[in-house]
C-alpha cells in the first residue's frame, strides 16, 4: 500500500503531492440555497471540487450532505446560487443530461437494477458510449454487435478490477449487501465519469469490506484519475482518504479544509460533540 503511505504523508503536512494533484476546479457551487416549502435544506453553501482530488462532505444527520449531491446530480434544482462545471455555468439540467456531462454517482440506499445480472447493470453504465440505432440492434448486425463487444471488454476491465468476476452473470437481487455496493461502484465507473459522487459508500459494511472499498476508491482516484466527492460517516476513513473536507451542519457549511484543519476546527468539534446553540 505505497499509495496509502503517501496519503498519510500528505495528511500530516505539506506534501508535494497535495499541490501536484490539485488542478483547476472541476465543479464549483456558489451560494447554493435549497428549501422544500418552509424547510431550508441548504443555506448559502459554496465550495469547489478540484480536478483529481478526493473531496469529502461530512456532517451530522440531516445536515444537507445528500441534498448537496442531489443538487449536483440534477435531482434538485436549487432556488438560489449557481453551479460552475468545468469552467462554464451549468444551466439546470435533467439527471440524465448531468450523466452525459460525465458525472456519475452511487446512492446511500443501493439503487441497482435488481432484476438484471451484474454484467447488465455494469453495461447499463456504458449507455452514453453506445450509439447504435434501433434497426442495427434489432438485427444484431454491424454497429450494435461491435459496440456490444467493445463495451463488454471495457466493463470486464472494471469487473476484474473490482473483483466481481465470479458473480458477473448473477442476478443482483441475489447478492449480499457488500457486493451490491461494489456493483454499484462498478456501474458508476463504467460510464468513465470525470466526477464521481459517492453517497456513503461504506455504510453498513464490515471492516474488511470497508478496507476493500477504500482500496478501490484510492485506486480509481490515483490510477484512473477520477475526481471523487464522497459522503461518509466513518471519520477514520474520511481523514485517511480525502484531500479536503467540507463540513456541514443544519444546511450550512461550517468548515472547509484539509483533514488536519478540520480535526482542529472548533465549530466542527462543537457540531459533532454537540453544544448548546445560542
Amino acid at each position: 500500500m505505497i499509495h496509502a503511505a503517501t496519503k498519510g504523508a500528505e495528511a500530516s503536512g505539506d506534501s508535494p503531492l497535495a499541490t501536484d494533484k490539485a488542478g483547476d476546479p472541476i465543479l464549483e457551487l456558489r451560494d447554493i440555497s435549497l428549501s422544500f416549502g418552509g424547510v431550508a435544506a441548504i443555506k448559502d453553501v459554496s465550495f469547489d471540487i478540484l480536478e483529481g482530488e478526493i473531496r469529502a462532505i461530512i456532517g451530522p444527520n440531516g445536515a444537507g450532505k445528500s441534498s448537496i449531491l442531489n443538487v449536483i446530480s440534477g435531482f434538485y434544482v436549487p432556488q438560489e446560487g449557481r453551479i460552475v462545471y468545468r469552467g462554464a455555468r451549468r444551466p439546470s439540467l435533467k439527471p440524465y443530461q448531468v450523466a452525459r456531462q460525465g458525472i456519475a454517482r452511487t446512492f446511500q440506499s443501493i439503487a441497482l437494477f435488481e432484476g438484471m445480472s451484474v454484467l447488465d447493470n455494469v453495461m447499463t453504465g456504458r449507455i452514453n458510449h453506445m450509439r447504435s440505432g434501433l434497426l442495427s440492434q434489432a438485427l444484431w448486425r454491424g454497429r450494435a454487435e461491435r459496440e456490444e463487444v467493445e463495451n463488454r471488454k471495457f466493463c470486464e476491465g472494471i469487473i476484474d478490477f473490482l473483483e466481481i468476476q465470479h458473480i458477473r452473470k448473477t442476478r443482483v437481487a441475489q447478492l449480499p449487501y457488500g457486493l451490491k455496493k461494489r456493483v454499484e461502484l462498478a456501474r458508476a465507473l463504467a460510464s468513465e465519469p470525470k466526477l464521481l459522487l459517492l453517497d456513503e459508500p461504506m455504510a453498513g459494511m464490515s471492516v474488511e469490506e470497508k478496507e476493500d472499498m477504500c482500496r478501490f476508491i484510492l485506486y480509481v482516484n490515483d490510477e484512473i484519475g477520477t475526481t471523487i466527492a464522497l459522503i461518509e460517516h466513518d471519520m477514520g476513513v474520511v481523514m485517511d482518504l480525502s484531500d479536503r473536507v467540507v463540513v456541514m451542519d443544519y444546511g450550512r457549511k461550517i468548515g472547509d479544509g484539509s483533514p488536519d484543519e478540520i480535526r482542529n476546527n472548533q465549530a466542527v468539534i462543537d457540531a459533532y460533540l454537540g453544544v448548546v446553540h445560542d
Binding site: A111, F113, E114, T124, Q137, E148
Partner: protein
C-alpha cells in the same frame, strides 16, 4: 449429464453473449425451427390450423409485444385489444386502398401505424406509472374501439359495420379471404412470429433492452446513469405496439377474415394477452410463447376431453371450461408466480446438476 456448459468453452464475447449459450438449448431451438418450418406445413389441416396453430402464433406475437412493454419496461398496459384493432383496421384500409401492393408490406405498415398510435397513448407514461397508467391505457382501449365503430370511413361504409378481408396472394398463393390455403396462412404467421421473436430477443439483450429494464427496476437510478426516460418509455411503447399491430393485422386478415371490432378486439382481448404474459412469465420471450400456448391450448384440450372423451353436453362443457381455466390460472399463479418461463429455468438448473443433488 448431457446438459452442461462445462467443456463448451466460450472464447469470445460474441459467443458468450449468444442467445442459447448451452449446446443442447441451441439444438432444441434449431430443431423447433426445422419442425415449424419444414414439417408442420406439410401436415397441417384446417382443424389444427384454425383451432390451435394460427391463434397460438398470432397471440404469441401480441404477447411478445406486450411483454416488451410490461415485462421488460415495466409499463402496465390494458390497451392491447385497442392496439390490435388499430393493426387490423390499418391493414384493412391499406389492402382496400392499395390492392396491388403485397400483403406482407401492408402488415408491416399496419405495425408501423400502430406504433405511432402506441407512442401517442404512451405519452401519459411520462407522468404516471403503475395502476394509474393502466387506467390511462384503458382509455385507449375504449376510445379506439369506439372510433372504429363510429367512424364509417374506417370500415369503408359497409352496411354491416364489419370489415372483411379481400382475397390477396403471395407468390400466387391465396393467403387471405375465404379461399386461402391453410398451409400458406400458417407460414405467413410463422414468418412474423419468427421475426418478432428474433427482433425482440436482439433488442432485449442489447443497449435498448438494458435501458428498458433499468427503467423497470429503478427509474431514478436509470436516469442518473444516463437513460433518457422519455425515449426509453416511448421506444418501448412503439416497439410493443408495432408487434401488437402486426398481430392484430394477422388476426383479422389471415385468421378471421371478417371482424366486428367490439366483439373481437374488446377489453377481453386486452386481459387475455395480459394473462398470457403473466402466466408465461414477465420479461421472457419464451414465456410469451408458453403463455400463448397455455391459454390457446387449454380450452381446446378441455373441450376435447370433456365433449369428445366424456361425452358431456356441449353447453355444460363450455361453462365448465371457463371455471376450470380460471381455477387453473389461480392455482398456477399461486404455485409459481413467475410463470412458466421460471418453471423452465428451474428445470434447467436441476438438469444442469443432474444426476447429482448439488
Amino acid at each position: 449429464m448431457f446438459y452442461r456448459e462445462a467443456g463448451d468453452i466460450k472464447t469470445s464475447y460474441v459467443d458468450d453473449g449468444q442467445t442459447f449459450p448451452i449446446r443442447l438449448d441451441r439444438q432444441l431451438y434449431f430443431s423447433a425451427l426445422i419442425v415449424a418450418w419444414g414439417v408442420i406445413p406439410f401436415l397441417v389441416d384446417d382443424y389444427w390450423a384454425n383451432a390451435v396453430l394460427l391463434p397460438f402464433l398470432i397471440y404469441a406475437i401480441a404477447a411478445i409485444g406486450l411483454n416488451i412493454l410490461v415485462g421488460y419496461c415495466g409499463q402496465v398496459s390494458l390497451g392491447t385489444g385497442g392496439f390490435m384493432a388499430v393493426g387490423a383496421y390499418a391493414v384493412y384500409k391499406l389492402m382496400t386502398a392499395m390492392p396491388e401492393v403485397n400483403i406482407l408490406i401492408h402488415v408491416f405498415l399496419a405495425g408501423g401505424i400502430t406504433a405511432l398510435v402506441g407512442v401517442l397513448f404512451g405519452l401519459p407514461s411520462l407522468r404516471i406509472k403503475g395502476f394509474y397508467l393502466a387506467v390511462a391505457t384503458l382509455a385507449a382501449q375504449f376510445f379506439l374501439v369506439w372510433l372504429f365503430n363510429r367512424v364509417p370511413w374506417f370500415y369503408n361504409y359497409s352496411a354491416s359495420g364489419q370489415i372483411t378481408a379481400p382475397e390477396r396472394t403471395i407468390f400466387g398463393v391465396v393467403v387471405t379471404g375465404a379461399n386461402s390455403e391453410t398451409w400458406a396462412t400458417y407460414l405467413v404467421c410463422l414468418f412474423f412470429v419468427t421475426l418478432a421473436a428474433l427482433i425482440a430477443r436482439n433488442l432485449t439483450r442489447g443497449a435498448i433492452g438494458r435501458q428498458w429494464m433499468a427503467i423497470r427496476d429503478m427509474d431514478i437510478a436509470a436516469e442518473i446513469i444516463g437513460v433518457n426516460p422519455l425515449s426509453a418509455k416511448l421506444g418501448a411503447f412503439a416497439v410493443s405496439s408495432f408487434f401488437i399491430g402486426v398481430s392484430g393485422a394477422l388476426f383479422f386478415a389471415v385468421y378471421l377474415g371478417a371482424v366486428e371490432v367490439g366483439e373481437v378486439f374488446g377489453i377481453n382481448k386486452s386481459f387475455l394477452v395480459l394473462f398470457m404474459i403473466i402466466i408465461g412469465g414477465l420479461g421472457s420471450i419464451l414465456g410469451s410463447f408458453a403463455g400463448a400456448a397455455f391459454l390457446v391450448l387449454l380450452p381446446v384440450l378441455l373441450k376435447n376431453v370433456l365433449v369428445g372423451g366424456l361425452n358431456w353436453p356441449t353447453d355444460l362443457a363450455a361453462h365448465l371450461e371457463f371455471m376450470i381455466v380460471g381455477a387453473l390460472i389461480v392455482i398456477f399463479l399461486v404455485a409459481e408466480p413467475h410463470g412458466i418461463a421460471q418453471l423452465w429455468r428451474l428445470a434447467k438448473e436441476k438438469l444442469r446438476l443432474w444426476p447429482f443433488p448439488h
